[in-house]
Symmetry: C2
Subunit: 235 residues, 2 copies
């Protein structure tokens, strides 16, 4: 069974959290806007009525389209065996995945504090204060939370020795924040050894290593969620 | 069976979305911080280790604590009969509920565009531009999305003639935005008749009418998510 992933073709963005889980699980999927073009994405979005995706990413299986990153991952995880085996475990994974969505949204807002409809350059006066609070207060608070979650079992993953969609997302969170805030990450990473061990264990999964080395992995850039603006970083 | 809801006791905030669904369903619950005090909330939060709530609200059932508003509602809805009867219906409800979470977060950020750790007064210079984009672009975009979702069936609710947690949340979204942005809502409400009909149908549920008339319903105020600052409103 093959899924269609619809997401902006030139950025990692929120779609990357879905790509990573699909790749890690070896699930067959087509990254439709990368093969068919961005116009095909806006056309597909526009053709859907009723209860439809609010925004990309969304994943289509037959006539079912599921949107919202955390929701896509929970759905695919339970279907394709990269969630938990029990209800409580899945409730925990969803809660963690939603909290990753929250920190990702805050990372985005460091470069878009005032409006999503105008570029960074038009709001860069407000961005340093937003970024400072994110670096100094929010990053440690979220990292402590994930570090504690990773302490519930013996690691390296949240569920122990089996990866889940939360682990691939934590990998991407660390990657993205290293790209966007290298100075800050260099300062604080050492305080979260379980989080970094989880990141490293995901990177070492055969399927992820192959994916990262392929041209399917889009490079970070300043159109995505995690952007490197040196003026927004600091130790 | 009684649940414990833990949330800040002096605001509606995100906890209100949980309260409304519990009230509408007639589910027995204790609003713990309102009976035991806010210190009991911080103490309960602090006592939880491993995979724990990142922030209130969270709902406790025995030794299970579930956090993240949309997630709480999906979980309780499936358990207590105010979700959908089938997998696809529940996938749709969760997607809608998560999108409500997104617009609620954006509504919050209109008065806290730069940092969550400092008061409105310290960021009120940046707030008007954030609020303008929210009023003019985001509110119509989200409302159109919910109006379309409500067109999938004959109403008044998303699932047709049976309310779900998405409907109680849409009610609260409309209530909150009317409180925060009365001028803007007066201008645009008429363009979204299904959304307003859903709001009105929720208000007329016996259990909701009784709840709204009770002292369990906290009044909107300028400590919550939906705040009325006249300088942030506009037609």
């Amino acid at each position: 069974m093959s899924y269609d992933l619809w997401y902006w073709p030139s950025i990692q963005g929120r779609g990357e959290f879905v790509r990573l889980a699909l790749e890690a699980a070896g699930v067959d999927y087509r990254d439709r806007a990368r093969t068919d073009g961005v116009e095909a994405l806006t056309e597909d979005m526009g053709s859907r009525g009723g209860i439809r995706p609010y925004a990309p990413p969304y994943v289509v299986d037959g006539d079912l389209a599921v949107a919202q990153t955390a929701h896509i991952l929970a759905w695919l995880g339970e279907r394709r065996g990269f969630a938990a085996d029990d209800e409580r475990g899945n409730l925990e994974l969803i809660e963690l995945q939603l909290t990753i969505s929250d920190v990702v949204a805050e990372a985005h807002d460091t470069h878009h504090p005032l409006t999503v409809s105008e570029p960074y350059e038009d709001q860069k006066d407000a961005a340093p204060r937003k970024a400072e609070g994110f670096r100094e207060q929010r990053m440690p608070k979220y990292f402590t939370y994930f570090e504690d979650a990773l302490s519930a079992k013996d690691g390296p993953f949240v569920r122990g020795d089996r990866w889940s969609h939360v682990d691939t997302s934590l990998f991407q969170l660390v990657e993205g924040l290293r790209y966007a805030f290298p100075k800050r990450m260099a300062t604080i990473e050492g305080d979260y050894p379980k989080l970094i061990a989880c990141h490293d264990a995901v990177a070492e999964l055969d399927a992820i290593a192959a994916y990262l080395a392929s041209d399917r992995r889009i490079a970070f850039n300043e159109d995505g969620i995690f952007r490197h603006y040196p003026e927004l970083d600091g130790a």
